[in-house]
Each structure stands twice: as C-alpha cells, then as structure tokens.
C-alpha cells in the first residue's frame, strides 16, 4: 500500500516522511546513523573497486620478475628531494645496485641523484582485461625505471600488484563461498522451518553437530584430500565449496527461526484467507520480511569465510600459485627469517584485517538497521 502513496508523493517530501517511506528507505536512514558502518561500507567499496580493476591499478603484471630489485624494500613516493625542493610531480628515487663485498649478492641502493617521476595513465605491461580484451593501459607508472610501492618478494615480483590481484581472488572466493553457503542455508533452513516436525528436529540436530566440530582442522583435512594434480581453477571451486559446506549452518538457523516466527503472523493468515497460493505467500510476503535478516547473516559470514580461505592458503592447503590470494601471498611470510628480512611481505595481512573490520562494522550497522520498525 505504501508503494502507491510514494508514486503520488513528490520526491522531496518523501525524504521527510517516515510514515510513507519504504522499508528499505527506513533501513538506509537507520544505517546512515551508524558512522563506523558507513566507513566500513566505503572501505568495502574501495576494495571491490580494486578487485574489479586490479589490472589497471596495478603498475605491472603480478608474475613479472624484476631481477634488478630482488627482495627490495618498499619504494616511497616523494614530493621533496634531498635538497628540500618541491616537485609538483611526485617521484621515486632511482635504484642502482652494488654487490655485497662478503656474500656477493646484488643489493639495491638508493641513488638520490636520479629521480624517476611518477606518470599517470601510462602504457605498460600488456594484459587481458577481465579476460575479454587486450590492453596496456595502467593508472600509473614511473618514467625511466620501476616502482614497487610495497617492495618485491624473493623472486622480484611486485608485492603491490600482487596484493591488488589477490584482492580480486580473495574477495571472489568469499563471495562465491558465501553465495553457496547462502543457497544451502536458505534451502535447508527453509525445509526445516516450513515442514517442521521430525525433519526440523533432524536438521537442527545436524546443525548442532556441525557447529560442535572444530572447523579449521576439518577444512584442512578436506582440502588436503583434494587431488594434487587439479588445476588451480578446479582447486579454486573445490575450496569455495569446502568453505561453504561447513559455513551454511548460521544461515539455515536464521532462516528457520524467522520462518517459524513469521508463519504465525497475522499478515500471513490474512494472505492465506484471501486465497493466496503458498508460492505467493513465500515469495511476496515472507521473503521480503526476512530478507534484511538474511543480508545481515551474509555480512557476518563473509569475514568468516574470508579468514578461512586465508588460513588455508597460508598453510599451503588452500589456493596455490599461480593463483594469488591474500593467504597465498602470506605463505611467503611463513617463517621468522622471511619476516625479519622482508617485513613488507606482511602487507597483504593489513588488507585482510581491513576487509574483515569493514565487514564487521557493516554487519553491525545492518543488524541495527535490519528491523526498521523496532523502537
């Protein structure tokens, strides 16, 4: 009924009148008041933009090795040179190399005489954007040399570029995993809530059972059982499915309990009395009422699956090279020697923490907003 009212009312007055706003509008108003949730939402937006345009933002392709700058520390971007002169175009100092007199290893040294200016919208390494068309357009690069914002790893690969590509993989694994968990949870929870009785009982016992198991060892054991000769793409889907297989229980619980509660509501009875079919009641009346709770559950299970993938890959049992995910990158930082010499390899970890924090804040905000009619 509120929809007709909105169509008639002019847009400006709608903003001020909660009594005729749609449910989603009320939720958005409530969500907006939660500052941390808004910040979290923008961080997430940024991460997803990075994931979508990793090829363009990354200054070079992730597998490319720079043999002149192996295990090099992050290169800072400067506006002022050593004499304190200001340069409107940012630059990085050139790197030369000298041999260590003892070990004879090549060591990168900063050469403050030469500046490599940062240029925007340059052409660089060729790539296939989203695997669709070829391009060599990059957001930025330097003239005359190379730039490694997060340093390079032991093979001379750019940690910054790899982290950006990993953002795509990690977020997509979590996204696919959560979607699969969502479908499973909604289906199983729906069955339990709709049919009730012994089936409900059985499903609830099953959920309790799965929840009492320690997840990480099971995840580890399951992914260790995957055949070693699988391609990275097969592995990718297998890992997401494994993550989903143990991650659906929360969702199923929510769906079930909401369905049980809503079944008894007056508006469902009214719909039934006016002769609505079961399908129409479920899709038109029940689903919209608990959609918001489902979205909250999803935003809560997202970080869980993200962390699980990261942990698995970190231990070498999840995704493997040549696929990059945050966990795969952190795999290189597994021992104390690597961390002591190349602490910048931990930078992908900051992305993990940022993503999980952002999801947690957004989840908190959504939990408050999910029921706009309360209070």
């Amino acid at each position: 009924m509120s929809e007709t009212a909105i169509n008639v009312a002019p847009a400006r007055s709608r903003l001020k009148r909660p009594e005729i706003a749609t449910q989603w509008q009320l939720m958005w108003w409530k969500f907006r008041r939660h500052h941390m949730a808004l910040i979290g939402l923008s961080v997430l937006g940024l991460l997803f933009v990075i994931a979508a345009f990793a090829e363009v933002i990354a200054p070079q392709s992730p597998g490319k090795r720079n043999s002149n700058y192996l295990t090099g520390p992050p290169m800072g971007i400067h506006f002022f040179d050593t004499e304190g002169r200001f340069h409107p175009r940012p630059f990085v100092y050139a790197r030369g190399s000298k041999r260590d007199p003892v070990t004879l290893r090549k060591l990168p040294v900063i050469d403050p005489q030469i500046r490599w200016p940062v240029r925007f919208f340059v052409s660089g390494d060729r790539y296939r954007f989203w695997g669709l068309w070829e391009s060599d357009f990059h957001l930025f690069g330097v003239e005359g040399g190379y730039v490694h914002l997060f340093g390079t790893d032991i093979l001379g690969r750019d940690v910054f570029s790899r982290t950006l590509y990993a953002t795509r993989v990690s977020l997509s694994v979590a996204l696919v995993g959560v979607t699969a968990a969502f479908v499973l949870g909604a289906l199983i929870g729906g069955i339990a809530g709709y049919f009730g009785g012994w089936l409900d009982n059985l499903i609830m016992r099953l959920i309790e059972f799965i929840r009492s198991l320690p997840t990480l060892p099971l995840w580890l054991a399951l992914s260790a059982a995957l055949p070693r000769d699988w391609s990275s793409l097969q592995l990718y889907f297998a890992i997401t499915l494994i993550l989903a297989a143990l991650g659906w229980t929360h969702l199923a619980r929510t769906v079930r309990s909401k369905l049980l509660a809503l079944r008894e509501e007056d508006f469902v009875l009214a719909a039934r009395l006016s002769g609505c079919s079961d399908a129409r009641i479920i899709l038109r009346h029940l689903l919209p009422s608990f959609m918001s709770y489902l979205i909250v559950e999803i935003s809560i299970s997202f970080p869980e699956i993200l962390l699980a993938e990261t942990s698995l890959s970190f231990l070498g049992l999840g995704l493997r090279e040549p696929i990059e995910s945050w966990g795969v990158l952190l795999y290189a930082a597994q021992n104390i020697r690597a961390i002591a010499h190349m602490p910048w390899l931990l930078i992908p970890g900051i992305f993990v923490i940022l993503a999980v924090l952002a999801f947690n804040f957004v989840g908190d905000g959504m939990r408050d907003a999910a029921d706009p009619y309360s209070r």
Partner: protein, 331 residues
C-alpha cells in the same frame, strides 16, 4: 539434574560415534590407498612392484575389504586396545606419536581458556558499568581489531616485533638448553615464560568476543527494574552488581564455553605451525600434507572429541548456574 546429566551423556556418545565416522571418511578420502603410495615410492626408487605383490599387500593390510568392515575394525581397535592405527610416516603407532605431543596441546588450550575468561570478564564488567568512558572505547577498538586479525597473522606480527625489539625468538616452547632436559622446576619456569605467546595469540579473538558479549548482556541487565529497586533498597553497588546482574549475564558466557573451546582447538594447529610449537599442530599439518591418513584421521577425531567434551562441560555448568534449565530438563 541426574536425568539431564544422563541425557547429555547419551547425546555425547552419539555425537562421538558420528565424529568417528567423519574421521574415518577423512582417512578414506584421498584417492588411492597406502598400497598405491607404497607402489609409487618403490617405482621412484627403481624397484617396481608387481600386481600380485600389491594384491597380497592389500590383503595383508585388510585394504581389500568393504569400507564398512574396515570402519568397524578401526572403531573396535580404538575401543578395545586404544589402537588408533599405524603412522606410515613415523613408523610408529599413531597413539604413541600423539601421546608425545597431546599434553602440550591440552596445556595450551586450557591456559588459553583460563586467560580468556580471566581477562574478558573483568574488562567486560568494567566496560558495561562505565559505558562510553575512554577505557570502554579503548577496549572496544582493541576488541574489534582482535576479532578481525587472523591468529596466524597475530603470531607473525608478535614474532616480528619480538625479533626487532628484543632480538629474541618467541617460537617454540623451551629455551634450547631445556629442549631435551628432564622435567624440573627450572624447565617448568622456562615453559611458562614461553607459553604466554601462543596463549595470547590464540586467546585474543575469543577474549574480544567474550568482552563484547559480557558488556552487551550486562548492559541489558543493568537497565532492568530490579537493579533500581535494589539500589533504592540500599544495597551497596558492588555487592549488588556482582550478586545479581553479573550472575545473570554470566549465562550466555557459560553457555558458549563449549564453542570457545571449539574455537581454541580449531585455531591451535595453525598457531602451533607458525610458532613451531612441539604440540600436535605441526604434526597434524605434516600428516595432512603427506597423506599419512591414519594419523590425520586420529587427530581430527581427537580435536572433535575435545570440543564435544567441552560442550558437555558447558551444558553441565549451565545447569548448575541456572535453576530454570535444571527444572526444564526434569519436567
């Protein structure tokens, strides 16, 4: 109470049975069996094995029987002799391999639990009573970050900081001079000096979660009328706080004790690997990577059994704490 105890015990036994099936399924999961991998190894060494030898070997090891018989055999051996199978990698019975390292895992897990509750409860109560104070905000921020940081990353960061600032390695559980020394007071103290690292790493996320739960439930309780009434009646604030709202707010905390244990056990392997502790973590990972499946399956079984026992304990504790649950069970 007795009825509740019995019901929970039966439930626990059933769950353990299911867990044993899951563990056995994990043992069976990898394609190929031990005979195949043995043949592979011989092949690489240049001594091929004939089909006949393979069949003989499968027969000797009982690998040619249907899986249900193998499962029954596995369970019977565990129940009757405590025999968990044979670790091909270590060339010793699984039970012996695990027995060497399990005590440390238990020490770490229970110290972590103790640490979590000892730290989280006072902070949670303080944060609720002094809501929106600076301390409350500080703990909230720490809590959020603690929840968001994966265990292994925290371990890595701690290792890096210790290396940078103290020039000391925080990995392992003993200093080198005590590595093979017999148990003594000095070794005990040395262990305690090293133990705090895995305990903090494992406990941070759980502590953060507990603080949040405690704060939220206590805030709900503090708003209620009976608190106001008791205050008006002249009860001293501290006594009132500890005797009524805190006791009620403890319910969800105790009820989730089992899950906290699950959580700690679940995180233990990865922390053990990163900090290279001589506990079951590296053992488990190594077994998985080498498909030493009897060892891996037994480890899964033990991890699961521990968490199920934890759930049982928390159920019993909850019944002791809350008379309503006791009555419900007998009704």
């Amino acid at each position: 109470m007795l009825q509740l105890l019995i019901r929970r015990l039966i439930y626990m036994v059933i769950t353990l049975g299911l867990v044993s099936m899951v563990s056995f399924a994990i043992i069976q999961l990898p394609p190929g069996d031990y005979a195949d991998s043995y043949a592979n190894k011989r092949q690489q060494a240049g001594i091929p094995v004939t089909q006949q030898e393979l069949a003989q070997m499968r027969h000797d090891l009982g690998l040619d029987r249907p899986w249900i018989v193998q499962y029954g055999d596995w369970v019977a051996k565990i129940l009757l002799d405590g025999d968990l199978g044979y670790s091909w990698e270590w060339r010793r019975p699984v039970a012996d391999v695990i027995a060497d390292r399990l005590p440390l895992t238990l020490v770490i897990a229970f110290s972590t639990l103790a640490f979590m509750y000892a730290v989280a409860l006072p902070i949670g109560i303080y944060s609720a009573v002094r809501q929106y104070s600076i301390t409350d905000h500080v703990f909230s921020v720490i809590g959020y970050i603690g929840l968001a940081t994966p265990n292994f990353l925290l371990a890595l960061i701690l290792m890096y900081l210790a290396q940078q600032w103290f020039g000391q390695s925080v990995g392992g559980l003993y200093s080198p001079e005590y590595q093979d020394a017999p148990w003594s007071w000095a070794k005990m103290l040395d262990l305690l000096q090293h133990l705090w690292v895995p305990v903090v790493v494992l406990g941070t996320a759980g502590t953060a979660f507990l603080i949040r739960t405690m704060r939220a439930t206590l805030l709900d309780e503090l708003d209620k009328m009976y608190v106001t009434a008791a205050r008006a009646g002249g009860l001293s604030p501290l006594r009132l706080l500890l005797k009524y709202p805190v006791r009620l707010a403890l319910n969800p905390i105790v009820a989730t004790l089992g899950w906290r244990l699950t959580y700690v056990i679940s995180g233990a392997p990865i922390v053990g690997v990163v900090l290279s502790l001589p506990d079951t973590g590296p053992l488990f990972l190594h077994a998985l990577l080498n498909q030493d499946m009897y060892l891996a399956g037994a480890m899964v079984m033990i991890y699961c059994a521990l968490t199920i026992a934890g759930t049982f304990v928390s159920d019993v504790l909850l019944a002791l704490l809350d008379p309503r649950i006791r009555l419900e069970a007998t009704a």
